[in-house]
């Protein structure tokens, strides 16, 4: 029984972190039709910034805020000064499909190299702000701690804020309109370019939060977030790439599938499970579980 409870709780907390990364992928995909592989680099860079803040001030909470804000800034800067010029240059031909992917992959490499230049390659660690010792359930210690609870709460708050932003504000309306149909949005007076930069900024903030919540259980090094990116991407694809709700649902499905298969079948099934779940979902629905009914033109 404790095994089951542990599996459920760890599924939730790992699913929550995949969800943040999946949201970052989906937000960029909706606004720009790009799979942003550089997100792993952006998130790890903001986590390094957070790490530096902790080194200077000793406060995890300040570092968390700084990381989220700098994540947003980095995201916006990348869209405005990197992606937009590339899209201007590469406009026609089949390369359009591949160019953004290659560009973000290149950017990922550059960000990771710059981190190596500045902070070196040695593993750093970030101390968790609350206890990481597991709770006791029925006299047994389980692999779920106050820290995991904090992760869940933080992600839930982030989701709530995003939902309010998207459903209750004019900015959210503009974001949804530009994602649904950029041409019509532009005609109705929305500054589509600014809105897409905003999408990148929110995605960057989400990635920064993911990094600050993920790293305290692991080590911080330039490639620390690569796997999280892959899982976030897989979760986003399961969810249908378009839908924010789908991203969260996909991340939870992935979190539960991975934790249950590693708990009950074999520890070695960590990666294969992700692949199997993805293929099963795509065999049933080739464009994910919650894909929009109408895709935008092109």
């Amino acid at each position: 029984m404790t095994e089951f409870i542990t599996a459920v709780l760890t599924s939730l907390s790992s699913g929550a972190i995949y969800a943040l990364m999946a949201l970052a992928i989906v937000l960029v995909w909706r606004s720009t039709r790009v799979i942003n592989f550089a997100q792993a680099g952006q998130a790890v860079l903001t986590t390094y910034i957070g790490y530096t803040v902790i080194q200077r001030t000793g406060s995890y909470w300040l570092a968390l805020v700084v990381a989220v804000i700098s994540g947003a800034i980095i995201g916006a800067v990348i869209d405005r000064f990197f992606m937009r010029p590339i899209f201007k240059r590469v406009k026609s031909g089949p390369i359009v499909m591949i160019a953004p992917v290659v560009a973000t992959l290149g950017l990922l490499g550059i960000i990771q190299a710059i981190i190596g230049f500045i902070w070196g390659l040695t593993n750093q660690s970030i101390e968790a702000p609350v206890s990481t010792g597991g709770y006791k359930v029925m006299g047994k210690v389980i692999a779920f701690s106050s820290y995991n609870l904090l992760v869940l709460v933080a992600v839930a708050i982030a989701m709530l804020l995003l939902t309010i932003l998207f459903q209750r504000t004019n900015i959210g309306l503009a974001l949804r309109a530009s994602a649904y149909s950029p041409e019509i949005a532009r005609l109705s007076g929305i500054k589509v370019d600014a809105v897409r930069t905003l999408g990148w900024a929110i995605a960057g903030a989400s990635g920064g939060l993911a990094g600050m919540l993920y790293i305290p259980g692991y080590f911080l090094y330039p490639n620390a977030m690569d796997l999280l990116l892959v899982f976030g991407f897989v979760a986003a694809v399961i969810g249908g790439l378009e839908s924010l709700f789908g991203a969260v649902a996909g991340a939870m499905i992935l979190g539960f599938a991975i934790n249950f298969s590693t708990t009950y079948i074999s520890q070695k099934l960590f990666f294969p499970t992700a692949f199997i779940v993805l293929v099963l979902v795509l065999l049933i629905k080739p464009s994910g579980l919650f894909a929009a009914k109408k895709s935008r033109g092109a």
């Binding site: 992917v101 290659v102 230049f117 070196g120 390659l121 694809v237 990666f271």
Partner: protein, 325 residues
């Protein structure tokens, strides 16, 4: 596109190129031969990407996984079944091709980012599967030994020259085969599919089957290059095929020009040369450990971005455009 080279002319060209390589191989040292073998191997892997992405319009991020399939198939054939290395390399291509056929059946239903995500998940999960089966040797992997060069080549015929002969010959034959394939009906239908899938379907092309075909052939080519790669590092293990290999090869393909097979050697050269350039740069200017280790990655990434921005259709395209002016 460009004027078509007749297949007889192309064959002569390949034979001549092979002859040049043969003569060149006698003139240079072991290190250059070893590097040359890597160039040939990477060029072959890049060919598989160009075939898949450039010609049939499917973006795969999991080419390293298909290389791994070929490498394991080859190693098992040689090491466990005790068959001749040539059969081993043949099996590498064949098994990876069949694997790609199955995968292609799934892939044909997927478009753009969905396919990219699936192949990415494959690239991280497949190598770890090797740990599941004892016959694949877990983390240590299994040896891939093509044996010493035959005695009739003489005493001073080094192991490295033997590597070079095998990888260069295998790559030449395979690239020749693909180049011929692309100049037939298949090449035209591939291009039609890439440029406009809907128009292609309307003009009677079976889009699904064509995508699967491209995936299978590309996988076979990738499998052969995987077999060659583990021959050069004399063993196959999960860590020989990291995700970064897939990305580096994609970079090589972009540098080569995705729509053209003519530059694959260039792509292979770039992938081999960049770590060397970074090394010599570092030894001259020095720097911290972080700087030294990350410089090659930085250079590859910068090159990727420059290639996308300045020659999105490959260097060949750039030259052609200048000619027109």
């Amino acid at each position: 596109m460009s004027k078509q080279v007749s297949s007889k002319k192309r064959t002569l060209l390949f034979v001549a190129f092979g002859w040049v390589l043969l003569i060149l191989g006698d003139r240079v040292g072991d290190l250059e031969l070893y590097q040359g073998s890597f160039v040939a191997t990477y060029a072959l892997a890049i060919t598989s990407i160009i075939l898949l992405t450039g010609y049939s319009g499917q973006l795969s991020l999991g080419q390293s996984a298909l290389m791994a399939v070929g490498a394991y198939a080859g190693a098992l054939t040689i090491f466990n079944a005790g068959l001749h290395p040539v059969i081993g390399l043949f099996m590498a291509a064949l098994v990876a091709g069949v694997f790609g056929l199955i995968l292609g059946l799934i892939a044909a239903r997927l478009s753009g980012p969905y396919l990219a995500g699936t192949t990415l998940a494959l690239a991280i999960s497949l190598p770890t599967l090797a740990n599941q089966f004892p016959i694949l040797g877990a983390e240590e992997g299994i040896v891939f030994d093509v044996g010493l060069p035959p005695a009739r080549f003489g005493e001073d015929f080094s192991q490295y020259k033997w590597f070079f002969w095998i990888s260069a010959l295998a790559s030449l034959i395979m690239v020749w085969f693909i180049a011929n394939l692309l100049s037939t009906k298949y090449g035209r239908t591939f291009r039609a599919l890439r440029d406009n899938p809907i128009a292609a379907e309307l003009s009677g092309i079976n889009v699904g089957r064509l995508k699967v075909t491209a995936f299978a052939i590309s996988s076979g080519v990738a499998g052969l290059s995987g077999g060659l790669l583990v021959m050069l590092i004399s063993g196959v293990s999960p860590s020989a095929f990291p995700l970064s290999l897939s990305f580096a090869l994609l970079g090589g393909a972009v540098v080569t020009g995705l729509y053209n097979l003519k530059g694959v050697i260039l792509g292979g050269l770039v992938l081999v040369a960049i770590p060397e350039i970074a090394d010599s740069l570092v030894s001259r200017i020095g720097g911290s450990e972080g700087f030294i280790t990350t410089l090659p990655g930085f250079l590859v990434s910068a090159l990727l971005i420059l290639a996308v921005v300045f020659t999105p259709n490959g260097p060949g395209h750039l030259i052609k455009r200048h000619h027109k002016k």
